[in-house]
Amino acid sequence: MDKICIENLTVRYSDGAESLKNINLSIPEKTITVIFGPAGGGKSTLLRTLNRLNDLGDVAELSGSVIMNGVNLLDRQTDVIGLRRKIGMVFSRPVTLPLTIFQNVSYGLEVAGERRKPVLQNAVESALKQAALWDEVYDRLQDPANALSGGQQQRLCIARTLALKPEVLMLDEPTSALDPLSTAKIEGLLMDLKNELTVILAPHNTQQAARLAEYAAFFLQGELVEEGDGTQMFMKPRKKKTQDYIMGRFG
């Protein structure tokens, strides 16, 4: 089952930064899809387009369509705020909001208008458990979030996204600023999460891509070179460029 269908997507920024050229890609449901390739290939642009964070930047050209649940996400009429609740995003640097641990997780629900204390408490607890952070923070939920370690902060960022019960979770190099232990925790977490939702991951190195990919797409300079089954891609890539990149011949 495909969760998201990207058709003829072209994105170009007015400052000439990383762009996307005529991308066609289907992202399977409840699977980890890995989007990999060298820097500047268009990975971040793709993620930012999917939840319309691009609206904040200066996009010079945007065409094509991204269909999820039968709706074109790029349509002007699309309810962007509702969309961002359905497609959660985790960034490469763990940016906690300047609030308490609890408030960081409840933030998304509160801005959505949820005020009932018990509802918020339940949501925060289950999101933190889902992000494997509850045991480490349950006794200090009212502490400022930036008191946590880098790895904990990143799991907090995942938790606050999960609190919104998203259908899709996108992660843009989520472990690039973390130590190997924290990285392993987050990778384990993603393997669990994919049973419940669709995960789109832009890993920061090829090894992580190979470890996690169930479905994979290789991006090079704004073009989609190859996509397909993850294991297949890393064992026996069809295209020469993909093979060269995986073997470490460039990038």
Partner: protein
């Protein structure tokens, strides 16, 4: 002496210390001078009673209260629009020619001599809008003068909030306004308050903008409504320094000291707020 890098550094540091001393010295000298000459005049009576004997004796209560009224009036008319304008400029305005023009206009507004504001206030508020010489007209005039200060310091405070907070908040489904209200403003409020106080402090010490618009030479009564004129410390100082023959020096410097304490007091509050907020800062 040989000019080794080490010696060069010593000479450099000595030069910097000398120059800093030269800058600070006049200020220290000024404050000491005012304290020595002014302190003998200060008493409870001096700050709580009316002037007597053609202002040569008695207290300066009406001037002190007048300056308080004018400062409050200025705050009312300059703080809300100033903050709103800064929020618009930083968070909403597109980066285009019009926005840039507004910024240039504001920078120039801050550079206009205060007497020009006074004349504008006279024409606009006193005569055209028929407020007469009054607290209202003077406060409005001071507000126009204060606005650029408040807008630019608030802008700076808003800009100092990392953009990543805004992106994260928006990615969690918050609207722009929710992001500003819940994340940006709480983080920038100390900076905004500092800017407000610095702007008001300047307004409280100005003479030129109020001398045509609301300040009185002498009033036997305190103002009853915002449409009454008022005495004010800076203007009172101008009056007793230049317009009254046989004025005791003591009273003059006592008045200077009170004005200085008023303005410096506001400055100290601003500094305290800023340093307390630095400690609580969350990033």
């Amino acid at each position: 002496m040989i000019l080794t890098p080490r010696n060069k550094q010593k000479i450099g540091i000595a030069g910097l210390i000398a120059l800093s001393t030269i800058t600070v010295l006049p200020i220290v000298a000024l404050v000491i001078y005012i304290l020595v000459l002014g302190l003998p005049a200060i008493s409870w009576d001096f700050i709580t009673s009316f002037p007597q004997d053609g202002m040569r004796a008695g207290g300066i209560l009406p001037a002190i209260l007048g300056t308080v009224y004018l400062t409050i009036g200025t705050a009312i008319f300059s703080v809300p629009p100033g903050i709103a304008a800064a929020i618009y400029l930083v968070e909403y305005a597109p980066d285009n020619t019009i926005t840039r023009l507004i910024r240039i206009a504001m920078i120039n507004l801050a550079g206009i001599p205060s007497v020009v504001y006074g004349l504008f206030g006279l024409g606009m508020f006193v005569i055209f809008l028929k407020f007469g010489t009054s607290i209202l007209a003077a406060s409005l005039t001071l507000s126009i003068m204060t606005l650029p200060v408040i807008i630019s310091t608030t802008e700076e405070a808003l800009r100092s909030v990392p953009n990543s907070f805004r992106v994260v908040s928006i990615s969690l489904g918050a609207s722009r306004w929710q992001t500003i209200w819940r994340i940006v403003l709480p983080q920038s409020i100390p900076g905004i308050i500092t800017g407000i106080i610095l702007g008001l402090e300047r307004a409280a010490g100005e003479t030129a903008p109020i001398m045509f618009t609301g300040a009185a030479f002498f009033l036997p009564l305190l103002p009853n409504t915002p449409l009454d004129p008022t005495m004010a410390l800076p203007y009172h100082l101008f009056v007793i320094a230049t317009q009254i023959p046989g004025m005791p020096v003591q009273v003059q410097y006592g008045t200077v000291l009170v004005l200085l304490a008023f303005v410096l007091g506001m400055n100290v509050i601003a500094t305290l707020i800023r340093s307390r907020a630095r400690k609580k800062r969350q990033w």
